[in-house]
């Protein structure tokens, strides 16, 4: 913080200090984030994984679905850095392809959860009263249900496409976001600018969306980020149990399911998909932790 100490006496207010560009909120947040080493490492790793997943299957010399029975179950080697699976497919390509599914599904589910939770929480927090009570009762009701159980039940009922799984996960994960948003709104709605907007005739919807919501974004971003990590774990759990993404489309979870049968002969099939899950989730969690510190309004007061 060497360049950032504010002048403590009037005498130190020189031309240079006065004419320095005011630091924007965004740059303050970015600087705080940069100091959290684990978060930065996490963010970099995540970018690498995303690029790998997006481009990998396209530029790989192997097709992730092509069956080559003469290459079955080969351990890691120079031509197949992560080995091959029981149908002769290159494991590295499959992992990158699985990354596409797992990462995009996690993102979709988290977006759904944030949208639903944001709507419920903002309405409950802003309007208060009976509407708030009713919405919170519904939230409590949803929280009481065992999440994994319901996900298993719903994916057995509603089909197993990538989109429907994302919807199932998202619609069972919005509750914590709703609580966060509600708490933010409860305190933010007392701010003066809300009163000012109200007095010039702004409607409630405008106030919520244009005035209060942008100020509540901090916790929402953090919750959304960590939500992606949780969704990835949920999806891999569902796929591992056979209730998620169906073959031939492979996510990291379903690859682990296949690997279980060959644990004794092909250890690499079990190690790498799971390792990818761990690294992705870890990166996202560290990033979320860094974001939480960076966006914390208390720290920005320095």
């Amino acid at each position: 913080m060497s360049q950032n100490t504010s002048p403590s006496t009037l005498a130190e207010l020189d031309l240079e200090t006065l004419s320095r560009e005011p630091r924007s909120y965004r740059s303050l947040v970015w600087r705080k984030f940069r100091r959290h080493r684990a978060a930065v490492v996490g963010a970099v790793l995540l970018i690498v994984f995303t690029l790998g997943a997006a481009l990998g299957p396209a530029i790989s010399p192997y097709d992730q679905y092509e069956i080559k029975l003469d290459q079955m179950v080969k351990p890691p080697s120079l031509s197949h850095p992560l080995g091959t699976d029981d149908l002769g497919r290159d494991e590295l390509t499959r992992i990158l392809g699985g990354g596409r599914i797992s990462l995009s599904l996690g993102l979709m589910a988290s977006v759904i959860a944030v949208v639903i939770g944001g709507m419920v929480g903002s309405v409950a927090g802003y309007y208060g009263g009976n509407l708030d009570n009713a919405l919170m009762r519904i939230t409590d009701l949803m929280i009481s249900f065992p999440q994994l159980f319901l996900m298993m039940l719903f994916s057995a009922l509603f089909g197993k496409t990538v989109l429907s799984i994302a919807v199932v996960i998202g619609t069972l994960s919005w509750m914590s976001v709703a609580r966060l948003v509600r708490a933010s709104f409860l305190s933010l709605k007392e701010e003066d600018y809300v009163l000012a907007a109200h007095s010039i005739g702004a409607g409630s919807r405008t106030i919520i969306l244009k005035h209060v919501l942008p100020n509540a974004m901090g916790p929402i971003i953090v919750a959304g980020t960590i939500g992606v990590a949780q969704a990835i774990i949920m999806e891999s759990a569902l796929s591992y149990l056979g209730l998620g993404v169906q073959l031939p489309v492979a996510s990291w979870g379903s690859m682990l399911r296949l690997a279980q049968n060959q644990l004794t002969s092909a250890w690499w099939l079990a190690l790498f998909p799971g390792l990818m899950i761990v690294l992705s989730v870890l990166s996202i969690n560290f990033m979320g932790d860094g974001l939480r510190d960076a966006l914390d309004p208390r720290h920005l007061l320095n």
Partner: protein, 317 residues
């Protein structure tokens, strides 16, 4: 205090009713309805279905069906499994103790490890040890438990041959205590890791908050030894929020860790639920969902009451 308890209990009742209505609703939207299984799998013809409907009272309006179903459920008649025709209550009663054993031990382990790690991390804030412990906790809740189990089996059973790869006991072998302990080691540790990570992070931040409060400073100013200040004042108060989290996790003693039990072939509730999901055995599925949801509400209630008992400031809201 009593008023608070009564208030909370009264609030829980509509919640429980809501849960039962939701579960009943799910029962109705299953493809084909409650008798769909017989139509799909066992090829019953429409006349038989109509007779069955009348017999089981499924031709009556939904609210009446709901009341019937609810009264039967409360009396312990949870229906029969579609697959094995066993009463669901028996299926659950058989599996529940196994799950409670596994989850009970895993919670205990998670608490011991998590609390110790949290205390150490808070005392040695920002030191190398703190950073290492932080990374371990993050790994704890980032690792999918089924993969951890797979790797454990890979290392300890396949490669090293030290521990058995699944089940509660060795088939045909002596059912000794040491045999059961060997079978317990891997599942319990795998299931405990996630919670240990969360508990340690939580306790660490809770301790940070408490240590900076005024009454700690007063205690030190009074001349109390640091150890007493820490254990009697700081730690005790920092543990209170943890109580709520643990209380919310406890219903999983009933639900079981589906993934851990599946990986280690542990004959518990979680694994049963998984099998039932694959077989679409709805009586089993729904009774388990009800059971766990009710447990969640009850434990939440207990947690709130306990929290109000431990932290008097809450009572007067």
């Amino acid at each position: 205090m009593i008023a608070y308890i009564i208030r909370r209990v009264l609030l829980s009742i509509p919640l429980l009713l809501g849960i039962s209505i939701l579960v009943f609703g799910i029962l109705q939207i299953i493809p084909g309805g409650p008798l769909g299984h017989y139509m799909r799998v066992q090829g019953a013809n429409p006349e038989d279905i109509a007779i069955l409907k009348k017999q089981l009272g499924l031709d009556q309006p939904a609210p009446i069906q709901y009341i019937n179903w609810l009264t039967r459920w409360l009396k312990g008649d949870w229906g029969k499994s579609y697959i094995t025709r066993e009463p669901v209550l028996d299926i659950i009663a058989f599996r529940l103790p196994n799950t409670m054993l596994l989850m009970g031990l895993s919670f205990t382990l998670a608490l011991i490890v998590g609390i110790s790690a949290g205390i150490v991390a808070a005392l040695k804030q920002y030191s190398i040890l703190d950073n290492v412990l932080t990374i371990f906790s993050f790994i704890g809740f980032s690792v999918p438990v089924f993969w951890l189990g797979l790797i454990m089996i890979l290392v300890f059973t396949v490669k090293l041959g030290w521990l058995p790869g699944g089940g509660m006991t060795t088939l045909g072998g002596p059912s000794s205590l040491s045999d059961r302990i060997l079978h317990l080691i891997m599942p319990v540790s795998a299931a405990a890791l996630y919670n240990a990570g969360i508990y340690s992070r939580y306790l660490r931040s809770s301790l940070f908050e408490v240590i900076n409060l005024d009454y700690i400073r007063t205690a030190r100013a009074k001349g109390l030894r640091e150890r007493i200040v820490f254990s009697r004042h700081a730690l005790r108060n920092a543990l209170i929020p943890l109580v709520t989290i643990v209380a919310i996790d406890l219903p999983w003693m009933f639900g079981g860790a589906v993934l851990t039990e599946t990986i280690f072939s542990w004959p518990g509730m979680g694994r049963q639920f998984w099998k039932a999901s694959l077989d679409q055995d709805y009586p089993v599925i729904l009774s388990m969902v009800m059971l766990v949801a009710v447990a969640v509400v009850v434990f939440n209630l207990l947690a709130d009451v306990l929290y109000a008992y431990l932290d008097p400031r809450i009572r007067y809201e």
